[in-house]
């Protein structure tokens, strides 16, 4: 767990194009801020992967690489919580009924593990529909022991 005593609250907001370059830049930003906040290498990898998977969902499945649609990214280190919000402008999906990638019938599927991995790597995960369109995910990694 990071040393919270030297921690300075910080928030960065960005509007990103629906490209794979944006996936890389979002991952780099989040990992850089997490490193500055004092997270160790294992947590940095988990944060990076969770952000990457979320960005891929937003760019590929949400906005479908549409150049007219943006991905909003917010990374905040506030009050002992490292929080990343990622919102797309897509039509959304039935996230309440995602197949379990660990079920025997799904284990050999070539896709469908992204959200499962995100949940595995962060302390809190929320997903919600936006009005009129879009999906927002919120990832939280604790900065102090709870």
């Amino acid at each position: 767990m990071p040393d919270n005593s030297r921690f300075v609250p910080r928030t960065v907001n960005q509007s990103l194009d629906s490209t794979l370059d944006s996936v890389d830049s979002a991952e780099d930003l989040a990992v850089g801020m997490a490193r500055s906040a004092g997270f160790g290498e294992d947590d940095l990898v988990k944060i990076g992967m969770a952000v990457r998977e979320s960005m891929v969902n937003a760019v590929v499945h949400g906005n479908r690489y549409n150049s007219n649609k943006k991905v909003r990214l917010s990374v905040a280190t506030v009050a002992g919580r490292f929080t990343v919000r990622i919102a797309d402008e897509g039509e959304g999906f039935e996230f309440e009924h995602l197949p379990n990638p660990l079920s025997p019938e799904n284990i050999m599927r070539t896709s469908g593990r992204g959200i499962f991995l995100i949940r595995s790597f962060v302390d809190e995960f929320q997903i919600r529909r936006l009005e009129p369109v879009g999906t927002e995910v919120t990832l939280v990694k604790y900065m102090v022991s709870k």
């Binding site: 990898v45 891929v56 070539t110 593990r113």
Partner: protein, 114 residues
Amino acid sequence: MSVKLNSRQVGDVSVIDVSGRITLGEGSSTLRDALRELVTKGQKKILLNLGEVSYIDSSGIGELVSAFTTVTNSGGQLKLLNLTKRVKDLLQITKLYTVFDVHESELSAVRSFA
């Protein structure tokens, strides 16, 4: 660093040394193309050396699953060599670790092919 592949032959086993990141886009498609080329050439024994893979995402995991299925369906065998802790952890989290035949020694991996 994006993914880099180096193919070599050890007896009748095709070894692919993979390094870098296997992620959505160039990384996973490069691996897919290389494996399909081997299968098309009739290679039945393929060993993926992942010892220098620094990072793999869910798309990369999907590529490994796809490769395993493709090679198996063509009557061949695909095995994994030298998993880094991160890749091993991911395969365990996704319950795929026991699906693959994983080796830590190239010699024993090559010998294990029927």
